[in-house]
Each structure stands twice: as C-alpha cells, then as structure tokens.
Symmetry: C2
Subunit: 504 residues, 2 copies
Amino acid sequence: MQASNPKFKKLLAKYKEISLLAEINRILSWDLNVNLPSKASMTRAGQAAYLAAAVTEKWLDKDFYNLFENLRENQDKLSQEEKAAIRNLEWAGKFYFRVPKEMIVEKAKTASEAFMVWQQARNKDSFSDFRPYLEKIVGLDRLIAERLGYKQNPYDALLDLFEPQLTVSFCNVIFGQVKNELVTILKKIKESKKYRQENKRLESESIFPQQEQRQIALYVLRKMGYDLEAGRMDISTHPFTDTLGFGDVRMTNRYKENDFKESLLIAMHEGGHALYEQGVKQDYQRTPLEGGVSLGIHESQSRFWENQIGRSKEFLRFLTPVLHAFYPEQLLRFGEEEIFGLFNRVNPGLIRTEADEVTYNLHIILRFELEEALISEKIKVADLPLLWREKMKKYLGIEPKTDREGVLQDVHWASGSIGYFPTYTLGNLYAAQITHKLKKELNLGRLLERGELGTILSWLRTNIHQYGSLYWPDELIKKVTSEELNPKYFIDYLNVKYGGIYRI
Amino acid sequence: MQASNPKFKKLLAKYKEISLLAEINRILSWDLNVNLPSKASMTRAGQAAYLAAAVTEKWLDKDFYNLFENLRENQDKLSQEEKAAIRNLEWAGKFYFRVPKEMIVEKAKTASEAFMVWQQARNKDSFSDFRPYLEKIVGLDRLIAERLGYKQNPYDALLDLFEPQLTVSFCNVIFGQVKNELVTILKKIKESKKYRQENKRLESESIFPQQEQRQIALYVLRKMGYDLEAGRMDISTHPFTDTLGFGDVRMTNRYKENDFKESLLIAMHEGGHALYEQGVKQDYQRTPLEGGVSLGIHESQSRFWENQIGRSKEFLRFLTPVLHAFYPEQLLRFGEEEIFGLFNRVNPGLIRTEADEVTYNLHIILRFELEEALISEKIKVADLPLLWREKMKKYLGIEPKTDREGVLQDVHWASGSIGYFPTYTLGNLYAAQITHKLKKELNLGRLLERGELGTILSWLRTNIHQYGSLYWPDELIKKVTSEELNPKYFIDYLNVKYGGIYRI
C-alpha cells in the first residue's frame, strides 16, 4: 500500500518490524509442529517467548502509539487503504494497548501450564485435574474482557478478539435459527430408511497406502491452483496452514491408512486457507492489510473447498476415475454414487473434528452457549461436564460416556482461546452464502464435472482473496453477495443436499 | 556457567539475547536450505537480514560494551570459565567493535551480490563475469583486515576470524611440510602397480536406492551415538550441520543412486560435527562458552569420524555384512578387502569436495597460497585462473580445462569467506593427532571391528566435546594430546595406510 504522508510512512515502517517478527515466529511455530526433535521443546519455547516479547515491545513502543493515535484522530485526509490500516491496527493493538502487560504475561503462562495439564487430564479422563486451570483461564478472561471493554456482554470482548465486531446478540440470533433447523434436519435424516441401512464396510476392509493419498492430495491442490513453488505440504498431528511470509504459505496433512477420504478433505480444507493467503496482493505484504481478514472469512474459504467443492456430487464424479486408478482393488467396486455417499454420510458422533456437515455446527453452538454462560457467570466451570452431556443429548441425541470424549476433547479452552469456536460456524454460513452468489455467475456444476477449478479460484481471487484485510467481514460479505450474513443459504444448501441423499 | 558477580551476570544476560537471536537465525537458515519454496527467497532474505541487524545492534549496545570492557580490564578476580568467556567475546566481538558498521553492511551486500553472480558465472564458465565482484571482496577484506589489525600479514587478520590466533607464518611452516610429503606420497602411489590397475566397475554398474542409503546412514549414526531425539537428518544440495539450539542439532545428507559410499561418509562427517555440538555441557547453553570452539577443531571431529573411523579397515569390516544385506545384488561380490579398497581409492581430481584423503589437503594448500598472495597484494584477482592451473599441475599433476572446474568451483570466495579454507586442513591434522592419542588409551581396532563406537564417543566427550569453547584450539590440542599441533601424525597415518593399500 502507498502512504500519503511521512507520518503514515513512519507508522508503516514500524509496523513492518512487528510483521517481520511475527513472520519469524511463525517459521519457528511451523518448524515446531513439523520438525522439532522432542528434546528441544524447552529450547524452542525460549526462542518463541523471546520473539513474542519483542513483538509486544514493538506494540508498546510509545512513538508507534503516538503516530497511530495522531493518524487515527485525523482520518479525514487518509485514503481508503490507510483508514482500513488504522482500523486494523486499532483492532489488533487493542489487546496490547488496553490489557496490562502483567495480565498478558499471566494469561500466556497460565495457558501454557493449562495446555500441559489438559493433555494429561484428557489421557486420564480426569476433568477434575483440569478444572482449576480452566477456572483460572476463565477468571483471567473475565478480567481481560473488562479491560478490553464491551457494550452488552463481557463475552463480546472475547468474541471480537477472534472475529472483529462479533457479538453475543448477533450469534444468538443466527445460531438460534441454525440450531433449530439442524436439529430438525438431523431428526428427519435419522428417521429415514437410508440412514438405518447405511453400511460401514469401506473403512473396516481396505488399506490405502499413504504415498498414493499424498499424490492424490497434491494433484487436487494443483488443480485448485495452490502454488507449490510458494508453499509445501508436510505432515503434522493436527493439520494446519500458516503464512511464513510472502511466497511461503505452507500447509500440513495427515494420513490414515484405513481412510482415503480424510487426507483429501484436509488438503482441500487447508488448501482453501492457503489459496486465500496466496491470493492477497503483494502490495499488502508486511502492512496492516496483509493476510486474510478474519478467522470467520478464512474458515469460509477452507469450508468452501472442503464441503461446497470437495463433497459435491459433480467434483466427486470428476475425481472418481483418479480414485479408481490409484486404488483399483480398494475402490473400483464403488461407483460415483457410492463414492459421493461415502463422502456425505451423516453420522452424529461425539467428536467435533470428525463431524459431518449437518452435525458439525451443533458441536460449535454447544460450545458457544457454554462459553457465553461461563464468561457472563451464569454457570461455573464445575458445571461443564454435566451441561455438556445434557446438550449433546438434546442436540445430537447422543451422550459421551467419558469427559475425554466430551468436555476435554478440544485444545481451545486449554490454550486460552475462549471465543474462537463461533468462527467455525460463521465460516460454514459464509461459505454457503458465497457459493450461492458464485453459482449465479459461474456454471459451478459444469466446472466441477470437468475439474476446471481454476475458474473458481479466479472468481474467489477477484472477489475476496486479493483484498486481504482491506474490508472487514461484514463489509466483505456485503460486497461479495450484496447481502448481510444470512443463515438461510446454509440451511437451504443442507436441505437440498441431504434431502436428496436421504430421500426426505 | 556460573557468574561470580552482578556485572558478569548482566553481561551474560545481554549475551543471551545475542545467542537467542543467532539461534533463531540458524532456524531460518536451516529451513532455507532444507524447505524453502523457491518463490520465497526474497522474503527469507528480508527476515534473515532483519535478525542479522538485530544481532549487530546487540553487539554494538553501549552498556554491553562497557560491561565487557570493565570485566576485561579486571580479569584477575574472574574464574577460568569467566576468563574464557571474556576472551571469546573479545574474539567474536572484534568484527563488530573494530570494523565500521558501514563496512560490515557493504561487505554483506557485496557478498550477497557476488554469490548470485558467481552461480551464473560458474554455469557459464565465465571467470570474467565474476572477477569484478571478487576484486571488490578482496578490496573490502583488505580494508577490514586493516581495521581488525594484525602483526605481520594482513591475511592473519582474516585467518583469525575463522580460527582464533591462526597466522600465515604458522600455516607456512605446517602446510609447507604437509605439501612436500603429500606430493611425494602421491607420486609414489601413481607409480604403483595397483594404481595403474584400479577399475571403476562399481560406480558405473549398480543402482543403490536412496531409501536403503538413508537406513544405513541412520544406523551408523545411531551406533556413533548421535541422538535422533535431539536432532534430525534431512536432505539438502550441500550437506551441513547446524545447532538450532540446545537439544536441536540437525544435519543433512544427499543421495546419489549410483554411489552407496558418499551418503555414508557424509553422514559420518556431519555426524562428527553434530556429536561435538550434542556433547557440549548444557550449562554452557546461550553463554559465550557454547558450541564447538573453532572451525578447525570442529573439522577434526568430522574428519575423525569420516576418515579415521569411516574409511578404516576395521570399521568397514564390521559394516560389510550390513552393506551386503541391504544391497546383496550390488555388493555381495565385494569382500571386506574390496569394500575397503573402494572407500580408499586415491584418484587425483579437479574438484576439492570429491577429493580423497591424500589429495584433499593439496587442494586446500593451493587455495591458502592464492588467498595469502591476494590479500598481501602479491598477485591480482585477474591472475587467479592461470595460477590455479599452474598449481594444480604442480601439486596434483592435472589441469582443469575450464574455470568452472578450477577457480570457480567453490562458494567460499563468492560468499566472502576468505580465510576459511585452511581450517579444513587443520581439521585433518588435528584428527590424526587426536587419533594417535586415542589409540594409546583405547584398543581402537578391536572396538571398530565390533562396532563399539559408543566407547569412542565417550572418550571424545570426556576429552573434547564437553568443554565447548572453554579452551582455545592450541590449549585444547595440548590438553588432549600433550603436544602442540604436529603434522607428523597425519603424514605417518597416510604413509602407513596408503603404503599398505598401494604396496609402496
């Protein structure tokens, strides 16, 4: 981006250091997840903490803050990009500007301890071991919310840390609609004849060697337009995507030899994140407009490729010969219809990360409701295991026998990320709304049947990716779809698709 | 290490930041060599330059310098470790303290440009393209040498940057002896009957798949005692070892499918560097006593494992069944004697990195002589191609037809590392002297035949590795072998070994 005046140039120069240090820390974090020898974990923790402290120092630099404040107060003369940059700095800087440093340090320390305790507590299925740490995190987050400020609900302050401007009242409206519809759809599916007949023979019978899974994933990523000269696909326990700098957007995958579908869907999901990052204007590199704008919009891109594309009948029709050719013994007996069925089986389960398209958001809404109640002090941490069971029973019709499969399953609370979960459902809703718009301009079915994913990427680049963080989520979704976020598109999509599959 | 007073504690705290930043830059550099997508090279260059500037800033910090100076001037009360730390800081800081910042920046910029020009010039076999850049580097290094200071020869100042206290006059004496002896041994070998009969059938006939080469290399590394939970072995074009922090000493290898020997010898060579780093006391982590003491001593460890162990008759006897088992079709027809022969064939060639034990040091001495003459202005850069040919003819009896196989072959001058080469030969000489001592205390032949490499590592840890940078090279070699560096041990070793092989 171009700066119109010397003060803004100075501000950008100072921000560039923050951005560089953050890039470097992401290199360390990528390496930690992909390569780090086990005995080096303390060493790496020290290196990352040093960089994190350096970043905090840059945010708290007085000259930086004064420049920022001065420009923020005189925004009239600024360009659209400059105004957006100031808005983003205000949003990203809020945590540093408003929360006392000791509180930030205390939170980081607590989260780091809690993470280690949680790992053991989950293995031992002992919520009581984890409880005091979660209580401390909730307590700290309440204090942090007070410092950050909010209009109605302290949880608003935490939601905004992950998705700018997101509020409880907004979520209540949207999630309320979604929840009712999902519970209804799920009930119908479970009553359908097909649901009751579905078999599981594929997973239990065949072996799908990793090498071919990787080849298929890379083939699909190339078709999607992922630039492997500006990225990589490695292996990690929990797949993720990260931007280590311009021209260096890496993703990871994992391979299960008894399931050929997961690594493909992960590749498309992470590929969606990666394409978003690869598509941002180079001009925004190391400025406050760099990168995808929010977790919700980011998730819309990953879910778009994973679900709207990857699980679609037309794309799977296109891919079936490839799957057959790589795994003839294992898959040749499955036709297009059956492959499509395998990728779209509804199966209410206890684990969020293994959930299908229909039940996934119920897992999220459950967590949103519990987080809101915790932060606004309607419930206590000690109440969580029981409430979790009750809600699972109510929404999905199943109940975990252990906390390991219940309240202890996710890393988010242990790592101090209360307020993160809702962005997953926002992503699903955005994705459906974006797809609805895209279908008006492109013959999506035809493109998918022919495997012409490049046209789809071009559309996303033109309408979304290039802008990086120029538009905020609500502006962007309006700009792209001429409408505010509307859950109707997602509900319609599910009704049509699963109504067809389960003949309801 | 323990600090005896608050000033020293302060100094160590400040040094810790330098060390942390350097570790982080090594993570970036490792990733650059092993993983970086091609389109991210400018991005990575920016990240590394930012960290390098941050390190320079720390070195030039006034408080740091004042603390250092104050402690340096009052060394009487300091412990042995503290004195060594001050000595190391003086040595490592010299470049920052004495050379003006602009000159450092100019040198870094020139080297970076020269490196890129050199890559193309080498491909095109055009020394004239590279000449002006090398002239600039030599000119800058002369200026830098003046700032660093020296007693007799400006080249001394550059040698000392790579090996503390190394001088031209010392090298002249040692290298002079070595050169004469090597030329004589080589002459005898070339006149021997065996040399004239040697065949090359192995390399041209068989294929050795990479997967097995890696397995053999990892097996030998484990036998050597390399801790794979505190390290890794990846792939890179130019193999190297680097310490990314305590518990994280990584090496790389490369695999040629028509040669099973190279990747094994590289593993043992890099493993030697890595074992040295893994063996330094944890107490020295992020202090001025961290890491191996010098390039020369480091190279002694890599050459020890590569040549004194890896190319020995006894170790290859031990390894032969493993090689046979992995590659029965390719190797079962070669007995122990023949395998030993394959690993120890003398074959004067144009390329330093492919040289055998006998000719290797002649390549180095040639470069040392040219560097010395360049820096003390006895010759010009333009004279290099001709002088190179003359010396190759004189020392090795062969002459390059192209500069690509001659003066353009190495990266060192292009990357601005004039003064580096001699440390390779020092390493070979140290390794032979250390082995001579080790054999007095351990039954080396017996240990090798049984593959009991752990005992050897213990000896090296006790006598060398644990000390990190506590003792300087001359102190260390005296402490270990009760004698100053003496090239006799290396000459004796070559005479006995190759006298036997070539029956001379």
